[in-house]
């Protein structure tokens, strides 16, 4: 019944054309701007970017934050996902609801809360001092730690959800099968669960990494100008310096990072599966 290709294309085209015109074309023009300086086609903007130690630092910091957030999210994600799938179906649904909930709350509000929590007089410092871990409040705001925590809270739910569904989709009985064949829990995790949930890890990892690397509010509010990331740097380049060329360079780097991660992780997932 669904053999008529023309019909299928007719249904698919409007959306594809819309996305292409409204979205892909301007982005491509923007990106080409980074190679078109003073009327010449050149890569000088890129060499400038990598020559600037500040720009390199921001790039490295952004990457580092992204990787760190993704790693920690994966670890917490697995622990949480195991806990969630071991619940009864009804509480599992409720728990997933709670995990999803923060995604529905404005990131402005969520980041805002951390400003209070991580402040000198905030709960974290109060707790640390009560416990006696420190006599003086430690400075948490405007640091990479603050940005890290903010990003983690922002994107952890994506990882948890991906891993929960990966665990749920794992074929039945492979864990008991491994157990009966003599594997202990650690061996089961690394030899069976990890490979079989790799897809979910990749999806979650991509979402978390790309989200962290391209987030604006969290680094802007919790990091300020002391913890610039590529996105806040781009924002400054545009709004303060009106430097579109260098903004395009950063934009391209961001896109390469997002797409690159996506493709890379996908590759890893499928390659290891085939091996």
């Amino acid at each position: 019944m669904f053999q008529n290709r023309a019909e299928g294309f007719a249904l698919a085209l409007p959306a594809a054309i819309f996305a292409a015109v409204i979205f892909i074309v301007p982005v491509i023009i923007l990106l080409s701007g980074g190679m078109h300086v003073n009327g010449h086609w050149t890569l000088s903007a890129y060499t400038d970017f990598f020559a600037s130690s500040l720009d390199r630092l921001v790039l490295w910091r952004t990457l580092k934050l992204g990787i760190l957030v993704t790693l920690v999210a994966a670890i917490i994600g697995y622990a949480s996902a195991f806990a969630i799938v071991s619940l009864s179906p009804s509480s599992r649904g409720r728990m997933i609801g709670i995990v999803v909930l923060p995604l529905m709350i404005s990131p402005v509000a969520r980041t805002y809360a951390w400003l209070v929590i991580l402040g000198r007089t905030g709960i974290v410092n109060q707790a640390l001092m009560t416990v006696g871990l420190t006599d003086e409040p430690i400075r948490l705001l405007f640091s990479q730690t603050a940005v890290f925590v903010g990003l983690l809270q922002l994107f952890l739910p994506l990882m948890v959800i991906s891993l929960v569904s990966a665990l749920e989709n794992m074929p039945n009985d492979v864990v008991p099968a491994a157990r009966v064949l003599g594997a202990n829990w650690l061996q089961i995790f690394f030899k069976v669960i990890l490979p079989l949930t790799r897809e979910g890890l990749v999806i979650g990892g991509t979402l978390v990494f790309v989200g962290s690397v391209t987030a604006y509010i969290t680094p802007a509010i919790l990091g300020g100008s002391k913890v610039l990331t590529l996105v806040t740097l781009l924002y400054q380049r545009v709004t303060i310096a009106n430097d579109l060329v260098s903004a395009s360079v950063i934009a391209l780097i961001l896109i390469v990072m997002s797409f690159g991660t996506n493709i890379l992780l996908r590759k890893i997932a499928t390659a290891r599966n085939r091996a």
Binding site: M1, F2, R5, G8, F9, L11, A12, P14, A15, A16, F18, A19, A20, I22, F23, I24, V25, P26, V27, I29, L30, I76, S80, F82, A83, I84, G93, M95, I98, V99, V100, L101, P102, L103, I105, S106, P107, V108, A109, R110, Y112, A113, W114, V116, I117, T121, Q153, L156, P157, I161, V213, T214, A215, Y216, I221, V231, A251, L254, I255, N262
Partner: protein, 259 residues
Amino acid sequence: MKARLPSYAVLTLLVLFLVGPFFVIVAASFSAGSTLAFPPQGFSFKWVEKVFTVESFQASFALSMFLAIVATFAALVLGVPVSYALSRYRLPLAETVRTIVSSPIIVPGIVVGLALLRYLVVPFGMDITLSLFLAHTALVLPYAVRVVSASLENLRSDIEEAAVLLGSSRIGAFFRVVLPNIRGGILAAFILGFVTSFNQVPVSLFLTGPGVRTLPIDMLGYMERTYDPSVAALSALLAFMSIGIVFIAERFIGFSRYV
């Protein structure tokens, strides 16, 4: 199954970390003090009241609401047919089409906003509101496609054939049989799209004009100039709104299945 206790401990910490900040916001919005602090200094409704008196909030709330509804609707109008085509027809370029319509999810929002500003708004003098609408539609499109596709995948295509065999036309079969059965997915896509658009920051960051800014951007701006708890109060109100919507959606369509 096995380790009950550790798994409860993990979940408690998780919930605390994910939801805790929200309670801080709520507490702060009922503070009597004039700055954001936790624990709050006293209790009052004054900041909640103030939210309703700030004019720019009213305007930006209206804009964000409008955008979220209209853009999500538009995204569904575009997204449902393409999802249908992708799940029912074996199209030669299916993957390309899928990549195109879902690319807005991968391209960093700030880049999108900048690109639109520079190459649609400035050169063509496009209205900022229109550009926001287009940007948000593009942004919501991938979510719409993903969620609707998922519900279409779960819906057997033979019920359409059954409808046709019972005398229905192809289009009739879609409206009589397919649509009612992916209602939940469409509603979920709508809510997800709504929330995504409503809370969107990076794309809207550059797409502002005098008097035209979305609510989150307006909140950011307000925070930068006035450090009173009214933004907390507003955040809390919005959060309650989102939670309310999601809660109801969860009750009726099992929303979290779709996310």
